[in-house]
């Protein structure tokens, strides 16, 4: 499959704050790419860079085979986006908003086509009502209609279910699935809710403090054969050095913090690993398998301050 987005060593600094650091990832055609991280992890900044709303400090963004820095207009013609809340012109109707943005997108649509778009998001019945009278869920659906109005190849949705009630979340989720399966769109969806990304995404990227933590196919990350093992020892640096010299070297994962060592292995290998820890004279304080993606995500981003919302 062709790469729709190729992001290479992307960094964004705001004065002394590094919002995104050395981030690289690739989105293939047809992917529903889940972009996962705690609030403030750098998701929105990254997506804004993909849309040229924010200029990168360094790195390269290639979308649809073109460089964003030199082909901004051509690329944006093929991208639809909803960044955070879809704020629209509240003094205009849904139909007028859609008409306005279809003209701005360079593919002006006639009224019947605009009504079809509103039909798709279930707003045809309220087409002439001012957007100021819309609920949050309706605005979100209208935002999606605006993003889709020029039939883009790539959709970028930043926290698309934020602030919605359960019914609204289900509606948006179904719509995203429809766009992916039936209309063959490539989507990049950011969220801080793992449950949301888990349902929708074919590939997942987890970022924390602006840095990539892990990237992979959703089913692969969820595979119990790839259990994440959390190890805490009396001397983590020494333990890491010893494990690096042992047959477990290939299981070692990049460090997230100084307190823990992360390893990936088959669940069946854990007893043998335990025996080797004793044999290598590593003083174990904690040895804990992490079975689900949620566990995994929790651990990877545990250094952040927002653990509570995930700890059910």
């Amino acid at each position: 499959m062709a790469a729709i987005a190729q992001i290479k060593r992307l960094t964004k600094k705001f004065h002394t704050l590094t919002a995104v650091e050395d981030l690289s990832f690739t989105v293939e055609e047809g992917d529903v790419y889940g972009f996962l991280g705690q609030n403030g992890a750098g998701k929105s900044t990254t997506l804004r860079m993909l849309l040229s709303l924010v200029s990168p400090t360094s790195g390269a963004i290639e979308l649809l085979g073109m460089n964003l820095a030199t082909h901004r207009k051509e690329i944006l013609r093929e991208i639809g986006a909803v960044i955070e809340q879809p704020e629209l012109y509240t003094f205009l109707s849904a139909l007028e908003n859609l008409q306005l943005f279809s003209r701005l997108s360079g593919r002006p649509l006639k009224r019947p086509q605009l009504m079809e778009q509103l039909e798709l998001v279930g707003l045809a019945g309220r087409a002439k009502d001012a957007v100021s009278t819309y609920s949050m869920g309706m605005k979100q659906r209208l935002g999606l209609a605006v993003a889709l109005v020029h039939d883009p190849q790539l959709l970028i949705l930043d926290e698309p279910t934020n602030g919605l009630d359960p019914q609204g979340i289900a509606d948006i989720r179904n719509l995203i699935l429809h766009l992916s399966r039936d209309r063959k769109k490539t989507l990049i969806i950011s969220s801080h809710l793992l449950s949301e990304v888990q349902v929708l995404a074919t590939r997942i990227l987890i970022i924390d403090k602006g840095r990539k933590v892990v990237e992979g196919a959703a089913d692969q990350l969820l595979d119990p054969a790839d259990t994440m093992v959390l190890l805490e020892t009396l001397d983590n640096a020494g333990a890491r050095a010893k494990l690096g010299q042992s047959p477990w070297a290939s299981s070692l994962q990049p460090s997230i913090d100084k307190e823990t060592i992360l390893l990936k292995m088959d669940k069946q290998q854990i007893p043998a690993f335990n025996e080797d820890l004793v044999r290598l004279h590593i003083g174990v304080v904690r040895l804990e398998p992490r079975h689900t993606l949620e566990d995994y995500f929790l651990h990877l981003t545990t250094s952040s301050q927002h653990v509570a919302p995930f700890a059910n």
Binding site: S52, L53, L76, I83, E84, E87, L88, Y89, L100
Partner: protein
């Protein structure tokens, strides 16, 4: 750029806030006209006391031309406020609403968008001045009729015959368009840096007030800075009513105002092109 401009005009003229300015101007003009209609003669008698002690003044002094001139002088401070109300909202208002990021994800250049917004602001400014001209000049002529225009200027009197007045108003309104566009350009530049329209609107009005005070105060210390303040040149439209018309001074003021527009517009352009859209 035409579709972008159409969209910007649609947004300006569909916003209720836009019409505040038109209503405010209508109310102010009508109040002045009503005051002159009710008590204009005694007001003029008082104002011309010094003149009538030495000269006999015959004819219809209180006419539409004079009332319009008085209205224009009175509106020196109010119209910039009304211009800033819309110009200051053009970028910051969109940033505040969150629509700026949506606009910029569409395949239009930032420069194009800015140009469309500034052109739309200019059209709004021109519309407001045409509205003012219709109410102040045409309305006053309708109520008070026409006559020779007599203007007291310090110890001097400028007298223009009835057939020699209209072109002066046309030129004055044309010049006022440039002056108000300068205010719009200032509000527009400040709007690029803000994420709420209140800031640029208040800042623009404050700058105009402070500069106007400095421009009009006759204190030697301030006389050195006066030529550099755009507010000093904004009132050069009055020159069209002097005898003789000080053409060279008017052209200098025109050039300085145009320079301000280009400078402020250019700064807005550079800042907007580099701006990170975080709101």
């Amino acid at each position: 750029m035409w579709p972008l401009l159409q969209i910007e005009l649609l947004k300006i003229f569909r916003k209720p806030r836009t019409y505040i300015s038109f209503v405010a101007i209508a109310v102010m003009v009508w109040l002045i006209q009503l005051a002159f209609y009710a008590d204009g003669e005694s007001y003029l008698k008082f104002g011309m006391q010094a003149l009538t002690n030495s000269f006999d003044v015959h004819g219809k002094v209180l006419n539409g031309y004079l009332v319009c001139y008085i209205i224009l002088q009175t509106f020196l401070m109010q119209v910039p406020l009304l211009i800033a109300l819309v110009a200051g909202d053009m970028i910051a208002g969109e940033a505040n609403m969150g629509t700026l990021r949506l606009l910029l994800t569409k395949p239009a250049g930032r420069g194009e968008l800015l140009a469309a917004k500034f052109t739309a602001t200019f059209i709004y400014t021109v519309s407001l001045l045409i509205w003012m001209a219709v109410l102040a000049l045409a309305g006053s002529i309708l109520i008070f009729g026409v006559g020779d225009l007599m203007i007291l200027r310090g110890s001097e009197v400028d007298l223009h015959l009835v057939g020699d007045v209209i072109w002066r108003y046309a030129a004055a309104f044309g010049f006022a368009t440039v002056a108000m566009t300068t205010v719009a350009a200032l509000a527009f530049l400040l709007s690029v840096f803000a994420e709420n329209a209140v800031g640029p609107i208040v800042a623009t009005v404050s700058v105009v007030i402070v500069f106007t005070i400095l421009s009009t105060m006759d204190i030697p210390f301030f006389n050195h800075v006066k030529p550099f303040l755009f507010t000093t040149h904004m009132i050069a439209w009055k020159g069209f009513f002097y005898t003789p018309v000080p053409w060279s001074a008017i052209w200098v003021s025109f050039g300085i105002l145009m320079g301000h527009i280009l400078l402020l517009g250019g700064a807005a352009w550079i800042a907007f092109k580099k701006k990170d859209i975080l709101c």
